[in-house]
């Protein structure tokens, strides 16, 4: 599904370098990424999503070389293949829960907001316990509900890869479990691969595999 080979990345401002000699993710695999802060876990997600561009190396997604895509192609690739879940939910305060879920259809290239898309949003929301709250704005939702909306937004276009960056970091224990249950269930339903950055070691047993990210930092290239 995803294959990373001889990847090197540095921010233009310097001071941070990341090197990943080899990393593979199988389709449908649920992988957790752990490691100290500042070791480049989020950068890995950005590289896989084509948001950041490596200095060297290759990232392939289902055989397609992501690193060789143009900016426009990478945008289309993200919109089509990837669902993002953020720690701070990143919902738009001026849109209702329904419109937040449908947001990718409004901004992404090639996306069409048709009745099927709307129905899928409704179904996802119902599965996540949000059926009665679709017309509320984020300010009128609890944190757990906001993250469920964000989860629905990530899944609404049936992505093949879900990238979760500390998706449960802002939630209380009860909501953490609930969100993770939903994330796994929905990912399994659409057959998506899950790559999740987390600091919560209690959750790690639920993943198929855990990557300790510190291992990718080579002493000779690390800052």
């Amino acid at each position: 599904m995803i294959e990373i080979k001889d990847l090197r990345f540095a921010y233009p401002s310097g001071g941070f370098r990341l090197a990943i000699p080899s990393l593979k993710l199988k389709p449908g695999e649920r992988v957790a990424v752990v490691g100290p802060s500042g070791t480049g876990k989020t950068t890995l997600l950005n590289l896989v999503a084509g948001i950041a561009v490596p200095e060297a190396g290759r990232i392939t997604f289902a055989g397609e070389d992501v690193t060789g895509l143009s900016d426009g192609q990478r945008r289309t690739f993200r919109a089509r293949e990837i669902g993002f879940v953020f720690q701070d939910f990143a919902l738009l305060d001026y849109l209702t829960a329904r419109e937040n879920i449908l947001y990718p259809f409004r901004i992404a290239a090639g996306a069409k907001l048709d009745p099927d898309a709307r129905q899928r949003a409704e179904d996802l929301a119902a599965a996540c316990g949000l059926a009665e709250k679709l017309d509320r704005r984020p300010g009128a939702l609890s944190q757990g509900e906001q993250q469920r909306v964000a989860l629905c937004r990530a899944l609404v276009r049936s992505p093949r890869l879900i990238l979760a960056d500390e998706a449960t970091g802002n939630l209380d224990p009860a909501n953490k479990t609930a969100i993770l249950d939903l994330l796994f269930a929905r990912a399994e339903e659409v057959g998506a691969t899950l790559l999740a950055v987390t600091h919560d070691h209690d959750l790690l047993p639920r993943f198929d595999r855990v990557i300790d990210f510190a291992a990718f930092q080579r002493p000779e290239v690390a800052a």
Binding site: R75, A90, D93, P104, R106, I107, A108, L113
Partner: protein, 385 residues
Amino acid sequence: MNAIFLALAYLRFHWLRSGVLVLVAALILAVPLISQTLLEGARNTLTDRAEATPLVLGNRGSQLDLVMSTLYFSDERANPVTMAAGEAIWDSGLAVPIPLNTAFETGGARIVGTSLDYFDFRGLVLAQGRQLAILGEAVIGATVAERLGLGPGDTLVSAPQNLFDLDGVYPLELNIVGVFAPSGTPDDEAVFVDVATTWVIAGIGHGHEGVFAPDADTGDVVASAAIVEFNRITPDNIDSFHFHGDPDSYPISGLLVVPSNERDATILRGRYLDADNPLQMIVPEDVVSELVARIFRIKAVLDAVTLIVGVAAFAAIALAVFLSYRLRAREMQTAYKLGARRGIILQLLASETMILLGIAALLAMGLVAVVQSQGEGLVAWILAT
């Protein structure tokens, strides 16, 4: 469509900010148009009225004050002249003098004391009631009738001139006998009475109870402030009204002078050219033309100021929109991460700006339309104050 949807949702959610921006933009757009509309209206009203008035006779002094008080019944007060000036015009046989006394007001409207010739000269047509017939009657302009809700059978009281002088002149209650049809001129804003009625208001003429207290020793009639003066002229008491002094000395604000031809007008004007003559005869059109030219020179300055303020205000709006986008950097970053197509941010920015300006333009057009529909009334009101 998606960009417009998102822009509308954002603007609706931040309605206060959006409202302020729309209001500012609308005012910037509307103010020059409204000032242009009002100025054009004022120019037309001033010019039409002045062109329709051949000559004005009044006290030597400000020509503008004389024109404004006798043609537009404004608050400017030219020094009064006496009825003798009108008699001189009559005696010349060169023109018809129409006296005007605009010294008093009632209910926020100017009381215009004049003769029946004025109504013929201005072509005023009665919409209700009848013409002036006796002392103490009034025919009111259409705007006054509408504003005060008055008609024939109602009364109006002249504004007190000396409220705390118990021995002074008391307000006169005027009997409304007619209402003129709208003319779109300052006549709509006036209350017309016979010029003699204004002398009653001024205290030159009055009516009171009979004096039946002859002095026991001399047989002279003794009157005092205890005698009741009438403050309304009725058929029962009209015979008691009388005037004191020489009628030629009674004051008026000025005279409209209607010569029979250009030659007579020239002869008449020549008689008042002497700088030592306390009277002046002016051609209103000349005075108004100069005034209009001055107004439009001022308008050019106003336009320049409006342009500068407009540029500054639009820069402020642009800054506000730009800053809001900086505040929304996180939102833009999220959109980018979710695979937003290229140009969507620009589309959002353009959509929000166009929607704001579009609503502002509609609001500005609405304001201009309101001003245009009320233009005549507004111009008349501005000219009268």
